[in-house]
Symmetry: C2
DNA sequence: TTGTAAGCGTTATCAC
DNA sequence: GTGATAACGCTTACAA
């Protein structure tokens, strides 16, 4: 692999001049410049960015630590992150770790610090106590971090979609269509996002003065199978159930299946709403009403925040203030609910 | 950020000794070793991997260049790649580019070469002429590359799932169940994978002596909507159509919808098979028979190949011989086809 | 405008 | 077993 020296000697200039041509930080005579550029072309020279980073004390690299990339949410978020990172001139290191593994957390952090990433986006969802490490971590020794999908905490930069609000919207949507006995199938109880969605469902019911008891809730595991089991269980408990809000579209799909098998017509006998707006959900049978979160946009927002943290730290300024995140979910109303005209979005 | 020097002076040793403790390449006295380790702990020191790479001429980083990470296939593949890369001690740089953009291709390649990645996995599907750049690229100037989802070519390392075989299996499955008028909804005609799947469908029909004409084919775009349109069109052309093989599960989902709306019972009147085995497909209504490709495994295989190429180049050995890739798809038979017992897998 | 030299944080080579 | 010293490939004062 050719180096600056190779280029320099072949172009009869000094390495410094080659550098100046490349970075454009100092003026170079047009003639020399041309000559250098030509040699670069001839040699197929690419400046070694690692060496450059060593001097600049900046790697132009950010890391995204995520889990479950094979599923919808994370794949959307990472896509949005990569796109925005690219726009800001960052390369992205992708680090996939298990949802709950303290050892991996520390190893990943150490590795990324060693790789001199300029910042980190922590896109592992908050589950159980997998955020405890925040308490005994010294953030001054780490690059700036922006978190996704976690409960807000003082001193921590977090970006999230409006889980609670989205769930509220979906439930509200069911209520507006005259449903009064509305069940909920949640994600795993130790997931923050599942808790938020449940809270949104509860709030909407409370505001409408509708019943909201533990018996209306079935705790699922995000998978379709738990939606199927869940609906059967809820129907056993409440024969008059007329609607279900599922914590995600996969579980809603399981609900649809259980409803078909139980001979309940959707939406006439049972209205169903999901959460996520999977690509496929508009083609479920019947099409599923669901909540759209623009996770790509949330990922992009995380990158912009991270970038401002990075710039601030480099400039020696204090970190910019936390702002409330403004990503609003929206209901994608489809045939799944009676009397529905067209999408609100 | 502390450096080796800081650690060295505080532990009253030389930088070289600290390095020896860290790399373990030369013996260090237990006492000194202990002392150094303690200082490292105290200071929260992480060796600068960029500086290390500069000397080692090895970054322990591979890049994956992909497209459409928000969709099922790429997200599976990248997940498998990251996992296996991790196992081999590589970090992964994720570079997302549009499917068809020559400029982006060159920019990505130049950038990755500059970042000194040890190897590249090119996971952008082959579409139209988006592989033409291979002809005028000088591979000696680039890190080793392993390609996914592309037609085999001499001198190129490629790994792919068995698209053709999978399509053959699915069609065969329909034939075995007595279907004789089998249509096909393809992906976009300029996608290599769509061509392969179509070829598999054709082969199975030919072997069975069944009709296989242009009129049985509808060219879709991978999305569910094109499956719906496609079935309507195929039914218009062939009133006796008794089965459809869709090029992916999303289009199969559209087919299901069209069948419902047209009053054709699935599978009694119309058998449907898809391709991909989406998480959700077992819960479609009715459950979809589809082809399972283990794309995570294919991704893992790509990493192992790449690793052997990297090792070989570093050792100055010739690149290891190409082997035929052995990833076999399998049919996931579900209720979508008449008379089916249970999954073959 | 250009060349020279120092230094970024490591590791490898060579003495001791 | 340990300590100086010289690289790795680049950028940037400082001179010229």
């Amino acid at each position: 692999m050719p180096t600056v020296k190779d280029v320099a000697s072949r172009a009869h200039v000094s390495p410094g001049t080659v550098s100046n041509v490349l970075t454009g930080k100092r003026p170079v005579a047009p003639a020399t410049r041309e000559r250098v550029l030509q040699v670069i072309e001839e040699l197929g020279y690419h400046p070694n960015i690692l060496a450059r980073s060593l001097i600049n004390r900046r790697s132009d690299t950010i890391a995204v630590v995520a889990s479950g990339l094979e599923y919808f949410g994370p794949s959307q978020a990472v896509t949005g992150i990569e796109r925005e990172a690219d726009r800001h001139g960052y390369s992205v290191i992708l680090e996939l770790i298990p949802w709950l593994d303290r050892g991996q957390t520390n190893r990943a952090l150490a590795m990324l610090a060693g790789r001199q990433v300029d910042g980190i986006i922590w896109a592992v969802p908050e589950i159980s106590d997998n955020r405890d490490w925040l308490n005994d971590e010294d953030f001054d020794r780490l690059p700036p971090i922006v978190f996704m999908s976690m409960a807000p905490r003082p001193g921590i930069y977090a970006v999230a979609a409006g889980n609670r609000h989205g769930a509220w919207l979906a439930t509200q949507h069911l209520i507006e269509r005259g449903r009064t006995r509305i069940g909920h199938i949640t994600g795993p109880a130790d997931w923050w996002e599942a808790q938020e969605r449940r809270a949104g469902w509860e709030e909407a019911l409370a505001e409408a003065g509708l019943p909201c008891e533990e018996s209306q809730v079935f705790v699922g595991d995000w998978y379709a199978s738990s939606g199927e089991i869940g609906l059967n269980e809820l129907l056993r408990r409440h024969r008059d159930l007329d609607a279900v809000f599922a914590g995600n579209d996969q579980m809603a799909l399981g609900v649809l299946r259980a409803a078909h098998l139980a001979g309940r017509r959707v939406p006439q006998d049972l209205a169903v709403a999901g959460f996520d707006n999977l690509h496929e959900s508009a083609y479920f049978w019947p099409p599923l009403t669901t909540v759209n979160q623009d996770l790509k946009a949330v990922g992009g927002e995380a990158v912009r925040r991270l970038n401002s943290l990075i710039e601030a730290r480099l400039a020696g300024e204090p970190a910019p203030a936390l702002e409330v995140n403004s990503h609003r979910p929206e209901v994608r109303a489809r045939g799944g609910v009676v009397g529905l005209a067209r999408p609100r979005a």
